[in-house]
């Protein structure tokens, strides 16, 4: 069954709105459909047109608690929603997931661990496998060269904040990157490597490896490689991969109270 058929079946019954994509000027852009305009929903989901739909769901639910929504999700979108729910940011009970499996080409170039959601409505499941090739390549370099590599990448930063703005897990009302004591306003490139390490640390126990940050980066900093390494560190210490098991909390969200650490 196609996602569009499923959306037509449930609109106005199980759900009040479907967050999907609208064909627009040869591309497909995010749109919340209702029963009146559901026929305009796109039926195809090109690999190059991924958007942070979980962030949009978070904002829609915050504006209207209890609203019944359906949303088209890839594997990464589902992981983001699972992680957001654990952090109290979305309500999965009132959400219907319309699962989309990434095709083999996207799964191959994207390199995430699971390029499909738990229930697939459209597309053929292709098994993934976390691509740590770049992480391993960099770890093979002598420490000095590795440091030079990262510093040269960070030095090219134009401080657009796109990595943070597009990140599904960046929902904080106050962001350390906006704090003048940490990141000087008007300084470019930002103080090295503080800016990028603030984000890297914030991604620990959060990053679901969707790769939207790297896609949004105008100068191509290999952010995904950095956050994959962070994810590997968290997994090796806490056996936790963000967005995977819904019943286990992120270690960094339970550490901090005396009760938990003693």
């Amino acid at each position: 069954m196609a996602i569009k058929d499923r959306a037509r079946d449930i609109i106005g019954k199980e759900v009040d709105g479907v967050l999907a994509f609208r064909p627009e000027g040869g591309s497909h852009v995010p749109h919340l459909f209702n029963a009146d305009d559901i026929d305009q929903m796109a039926g195809e989901y090109p690999a190059g047109e991924r958007y942070p739909v979980s962030s949009i769901v978070r904002r829609l639910q915050a504006a209207r608690p209890g609203v019944r929504l359906a949303v088209v999700v890839r594997g990464c979108d589902e992981r983001a929603l699972i992680e957001l729910e654990k952090q109290g940011q979305v309500d999965m009970e009132h959400l219907v997931l319309l699962g989309l499996a990434c095709d083999g080409e996207l799964a191959g170039t994207c390199g995430c661990a699971q390029p499909y959601p738990s229930e697939v409505v459209q597309g053929e499941k292709v098994e993934g496998g976390l691509d740590l090739g770049m992480v391993e390549k960099l770890e093979g370099l002598p420490p000095g060269e590795r440091l030079d590599y990262w510093l040269s990448r960070f030095a090219a930063c134009v401080k657009c904040f796109g990595c943070r703005n597009v990140c599904p897990l960046c929902y904080c009302k106050e962001c350390a990157l906006d704090e003048p004591g940490l990141v000087d306003h008007g300084e470019q490139p930002p103080l090295l490597p503080v800016f990028h390490l603030i984000r890297a640390v914030d991604m620990a126990g959060r990053c679901v490896d969707c790769g939207l940050c790297e896609e949004a980066c105008p100068i191509g900093i290999p952010l995904r490689t950095l956050y994959r390494k962070v994810g590997e560190v968290v997994e090796s210490h806490f056996e936790y991969r963000p967005g995977r098991s819904p019943d286990k909390k992120s270690p960094l969200s339970v550490l901090g109270t005396e009760e938990d650490v003693t």
């Binding site: 009040d16 591309s27 995010p30 749109h31 919340l32 209702n34 942070p52 209207r64 896609e215």
Partner: protein, 136 residues
């Protein structure tokens, strides 16, 4: 229910012409997303694009032209403002020649508007004194 839609457009800030989506949420402009697959910007924006929705509802925006006379500045109609500019330009050009004035275009205008400023300077006033804010 709260509606959410995105409106494809071009970043208003500079001449690069990056594609972006305005996020309209509950009838209000709330944010910007990079337009994926756009031939110019390929799903990327700089900080100006990412924040370009912020000025739209700013209380600091001019709602009408303002003319300063002496120490007093007051709001006037667009017709009155254009009338004053045209009259003064004509007076200066008549008294001192076309090269006594210059025109500065803006990256925030459309390509077509910038073309028209070029026409106005060269064909109407008769000067090549024309430049662009990106050079300031």
């Amino acid at each position: 229910m709260s509606d959410y839609r995105t409106v494809p457009t071009i970043c208003p800030y500079c001449g690069t012409g990056c594609g972006m989506l305005l996020e309209v949420f509950g009838g209000e402009l709330t944010g910007v997303l990079p337009w994926k697959g756009h031939p110019v910007s390929d799903g990327k924006l700089c900080i100006k694009g990412w924040t370009s929705h912020e000025f739209v509802g700013s209380p600091g925006r001019l709602a009408s032209p303002i003319i300063r006379r002496g120490d007093a500045a007051g709001e006037v109609s667009t017709d009155e403002a254009i009338g004053l500019v045209a009259g003064e330009l004509k007076r200066v050009v008549d008294e001192h020649g076309p090269d006594s004035v210059g025109f500065i275009c803006s990256a925030k205008c459309t390509n077509e508007e910038n073309y028209l400023v070029g026409k106005l300077a060269r064909a109407v006033v008769g000067t090549n004194n024309i430049d662009h804010c990106a050079r300031l």
